[in-house]
């Protein structure tokens, strides 16, 4: 525990009476999610009472949570349907370890009523709400009816299960008018969710949503409702005990999303006034009470620009973004869940729940943010350092250096939480945390996160769920360099290059080295950045590099060396943390600067002048070949050799990280050859189909 709020909390827990004598002595922690690590880290070892057990599947065997747990049980091979979703295997693991309680985390079986029922049947405590509540809230249609009855504002729509091609549903769509939202009844987290603006899109949306819903939740029922354009996504954390008491723990603003999945969350929201907050909180509590809810839960609302709010759904589990609520309220939600599961009454009253400071969470994903704000990437974390030394920064992750990010799970690397006295303070800490986060070996979305949190609209709190497509209509392109940025970046690259040059001339114990080269103190360099060329003059003395860029002097110094992953530089006196990702002997340097990775080519003036004679190598013509943009499984191939395809026509569908992605033709042409089969696993860049 490193964030102020949570730390206080743990101290409280230690002195707390109830749990010390609790009988839950064996808690089984299921599933590979950062929450579990948090559970293991904070709660159990601190209390010294629990024997923890983690269930793991074969593929992730030496994972972090296994090390932290006292005992580990293997529940099956990598595909989640055979391991973390395999209820029999998990029940066996529970029996085998004699677990008396199970914390289900989030995702997988955390909201599965059947799982809760089977646990109850064996007398194992499910650390979460009752089966009844999971069932009621897990079904979007039923939950909406209950919400209506509990006088919670709901979105207009068709409150029933929809199967396409039935006349009444078509009519229903027409009555509602476009746009409409198609959702998996059992869904969550944006999976099985599509927006449609026309009949055609509705038809396509149904196909994808039902397939996704079937593969992710084993339930292909869908519902349809009016799509509220440009809304905010704000959710209320509730906590309810088994004695009919319920609290609302303020809101979390989760509007920054891509493809309906949250990217940046904060608590509190800049948008809510105390009255709206109270109204939302009270409706959330009334819903929780209506289903006799116990444990921690989240009631999600869509809020339009006039601060009208509509019930979206209730999540009957711990949310990924729960740490930010912990930060501002000082409550440890996992601890509260365990207390409630044991039947204790809530310790707090509504007026005890504060908003202390501001907390922001960035979801760090193994994704390429330059492709549709994030397409999954895989790989092995060759280097990995979390910025946990910084104050006010908490990192919840389930991985470590050497971990494999595979296609079998969500591509989340960690939840990065920054907590500060004010929003500005929290944002500053988040900036530093992102700059100091070392992730090598997989493509990650830090460039995007780093841009979002400094964007003027975000800083002003002017956001909605359409933030990303509105701010980056042509897709995310990385940090746009200002003239000042450019000078700093060039100066840093030049300093790095010269440092490497100087070192390459220093041989230890070697007699036969001429001293002439080492006496050099001034260099003329030619740097290329984003296709523009700059001439730089560099001089070096006592660890400080003075670089003349475009007529201005930039001084680069700092405590760094060529082996360190982080480059904490002082550039003209201001502190900047850069990262050098690669440095080639031919002068190519990749530098992570303000989150984005920039490629700089540093050459001597001679090498640069001779480079103009080098032949330009033509890149491969990509319009006639279709390559997989990400690693995944081919779930359908719609063409065969000889077929003629039109621009935009679907060629095949790749499923990766539980999302189905339709691959389409870039031009109208005949299919020359097909290189993939349904069910095959493909890697990023693998050839799928060739056109003529």
């Amino acid at each position: 525990p490193s964030v102020g709020g949570a730390q206080v909390n743990v101290l409280e827990v230690r002195g707390e009476r109830g749990l010390r004598n609790t009988a839950i002595v064996h808690v089984s922690v299921v599933f590979r999610t950062p929450t579990h690590l948090w559970v293991l880290q904070v709660s159990y070892p601190e209390w010294g009472l629990f024997h923890t057990c983690a269930c793991v599947c074969v593929c992730v065997f030496p994972q972090v949570h296994v090390k932290m747990a006292d005992e580990a049980v293997c529940v099956g091979p990598a595909p989640t349907s055979k391991s973390y979703l395999n209820m029999d295997a998990i029940m066996d693991a529970i029996r085998q370890t004699g677990a008396q309680a199970v914390h289900p985390g989030y995702g997988f079986l955390s909201e599965n009523k059947e799982f809760a029922r089977r646990l109850a049947a064996e007398g194992v405590t499910f650390i979460g709400p009752d089966t009844h509540a999971i069932q009621a809230m897990g079904d979007k249609i039923e939950s909406k009816l209950i919400a209506k009855a509990a006088r919670v504002n709901t979105i207009p729509g068709f409150d029933g299960v929809v199967k396409w091609r039935r006349a009444d549903e078509c009519r229903c769509v027409c009555l509602l008018g476009y746009p409409v939202m198609i959702k998996a009844s059992a869904g969550g987290g944006g999976k099985g969710m599509r927006i449609a603006w026309s009949d055609d899109e509705t038809r396509e949306g149904f196909r994808f949503s039902s397939q996704e819903a079937a593969s992710s939740f084993g339930d292909d029922r869908l519902l349809i409702e009016k799509y509220i354009d440009n809304p905010r996504h704000i959710e209320i954390q509730v906590l309810a005990d088994k004695h009919g008491n319920a609290l609302w723990l303020n809101e979390r603003e989760c509007s920054i999303q891509r493809r309906n999945q949250k990217v940046v969350e904060e608590a509190p929201s800049t948008f809510l006034d105390p009255a709206t907050r109270r109204a939302m909180g009270e409706q959330a509590v009334s819903l929780a009470k209506a289903v006799q809810y116990s444990s921690a839960g989240t009631v999600e609302f869509l809020v339009d620009s006039k601060k009208n709010f509509y019930f979206l759904e209730m999540n009957t589990r711990l949310q990924v973004e729960h740490p930010i609520t912990e930060c501002i309220t000082g409550l440890d939600l996992v601890q509260q869940m365990i207390r409630i599961a044991k039947g204790y009454k809530l310790q707090h009253k509504q007026e005890d729940i504060p908003i202390n400071g501001w907390a922001i969470e960035s979801r760090v994903y193994a994704e390429d943010p330059y492709k549709s704000f994030g397409l999954p990437s895989i790989g092995r974390l060759s280097q990995y350092e979390e910025p946990v030394r910084l104050s006010g920064v908490r990192v919840d992750s389930g991985i470590q250096e050497g971990s494999d990010i595979s296609i079998y799970y969500d591509p989340m690397i960690s939840k990065l939480v920054a907590y500060g006295a004010s929003r500005a303070d929290a944002l500053k800490k988040m900036e530093a945390a992102l700059d100091n986060y070392v992730i090598r070996g997989v493509t990650h979305n830090i460039p995007l996160l780093r841009e979002i949190i400094v964007h003027p609209r975000f800083v002003a709190g002017d956001i909605s769920t359409n933030f990303l497509p509105e701010v980056y209509p042509d897709g995310f392109k990385g940090h746009p360099l200002s003239a000042g940025d450019r000078r700093e970046l060039l100066a840093a690259a030049a300093a790095l290059h010269i440092a490497a040059q100087l070192r390459s001339q220093r041989f230890l114990g070697e007699q036969r080295v001429s001293a002439a080269a080492q006496e050099r103190r001034h260099w003329e360099l030619c740097l290329e950045l984003e296709k523009s060329v700059h001439m730089l003059a560099v001089s070096h003395s006592r660890g400080t590099y003075t670089v003349e860029v475009d007529g201005e002097k930039v001084e680069v110094s700092g405590e760094w060396n060529l082996a360190s992953a982080l480059l904490p530089l002082s550039i003209n006196g201001s502190h900047k943390v850069l990262q050098c990702l690669t440095r080639s002997p031919a002068g190519d340097i990749s530098l992570q600067y303000l989150g984005t990775t920039f490629k700089v080519r540093v050459l001597s003036v001679l090498a640069a002048s001779l480079s103009k004679h080098m032949p330009e190598k033509l890149p491969e013509d990509t319009s006639s070949i279709l390559r997989s943009p990400m690693p995944g499984t081919v779930v359908g191939v719609a063409v065969k050799p000889g077929d003629t395809v039109a621009v935009g026509q679907e060629i095949c569908v790749i499923e990766a990280m539980k999302m189905q992605n339709s691959m389409t033709a870039a031009k109208t042409a005949k299919v020359k050859s097909v290189h993939c089969k349904t069910g095959e696993t493909v890697g990023e860049g693998d050839l799928l189909v060739e056109l003529e």
Binding site: F61, Q383, Q400, L508, A516, M614
Partner: protein, 531 residues
Amino acid sequence: LSTVATAVIGSRLLHNSRWYSISHLSVQDRIEEKRRAALVGGGQKRIDAQHKRGKLTARERIDLLMDPESFVEYDMFVEHRCADFGMEADHNKYPGDSVVTGQGRINGRLAYVFSQDFTVFGGSLSGAHAQKICKIMDQAMMVGAPVIGLNDSGGARIQEGVESLAGYADIFLRNVMASGVVPQISLIMGPCAGGAVYSPALTDFTFMVKDTSYLFITGPDVVKSVTNEDVTQEELGGARTHTAVSGVAHRAFENDVDALLNLRNFFNFLPLSNKDPAPVTECHDPSDRLVPGLDTLVPFESTKAYDMLDIIHGIVDERDFFEIMPNYAKNIVVGFARMNGRTVGIVGNQPKVASGCLDINSSVKGARFVRFCDAFNIPIITFVDVPGFLPGTAQEYGGIIRHGAKLLFAFAEATVPKITVITRKAYGGAYDVMSSKHLRGDVNYAWPSAEVAVMGAKGAVQIIFRGKENQAEAEAEYVETFANPFPAAVRGFVDDIIQPSTTRKRICRDLEVLASKKQTNPWKKHANIPL
């Protein structure tokens, strides 16, 4: 001085009336004029043509390769001596002829270099051209400094006939004499055909420039007339062919600039001669750095692959690994890196490709690399995950016995520090070959995932328990007995079983200890490696 000069001119006047016409120039002027002529080689038109092909001139290449202002040129005034076919004409004489030679510094360290000048008679090799190369090679061997050849030559100077062939042979002989004395590096930057190819072939490393360099015995036209094969220059002897198919070249670079800058970097790994120790550079990467990622790298199922490069990159200084032949015989990985600043040669089986088995090509690739390291005092670190030699008629008919023996020979005769880490499988004869304790390995480690055995469980059980009913049980028994590092450790065939994350720390410490290792082989004229 002027008296001497006049005397010289005077004596020439008697023999050669041609001198008379320019005798109005002072010697100083003539020197300057010759120098100017030498610097432009074949003239601006040919220089432009060379640039148009995406190639640099011989002198531009040297300028990029050597430290600024360090190059000292030899034999700038040498001219060819051919008098046939009109070659004696004034306009056919170029000061320095078709090669630039000399010595200079690369990051402060001495190197001899010759750079063939394609603008002068297509870089063809005359007797004078060969003589210039021989001169610097002789001196390089005498002072103990590497020789770098920048090859860009159309072949023999046909007008000179046997004199040109003699020139090649003179160079070949020196290549052989210098082998193992000073490192020799060839960078092919244009055509290199016919007999000329044997000089790079005799050197330690041959690098190529993509798309602009070719190496072949005979070009596409001759191939067509002899074997009726249709093949392009690129397919026959381009960089891709030689780095991926034939194994003739050790690596290819994008273009001239990229190649020369990379060569500077590569040069820093090498000692100047066999009398010099492997270089040690300043190192910022802590020698006791733990590599936690390695503890989880080797998969539990012994049939699952992993990338040996992940181990190598994790262990060496700053993940800086200069791989040799990265696209050829990929089932073995070889290359240079540094450990605590000290150059080391790394050999590793690559489980990702053909399970990391040893076959003909990988054995030869590994053997040549090991012998280079041994010749030049570079410690060898071997990572072993080898299921054995590749079976099959293709391998047996190709002589895997003979070729596999090369790798065995190379490891056995090597007297440099040898450190071996068995990461997983070390099966059969391949276990012995891969720098085992029995071949004088100095420090041999096993990771906990190591299995040292004669063969995998399945095969072994079929032999040991032939006819026995419960094969699965027998297999389990075999695995229990052999699929772990203990059988080797109890016999002292591995010195220790180490946690993978501590490997870097251990090796750095061992290298420090072994730096003073002295071991010699029995006196012999030379050994008889099974070629």
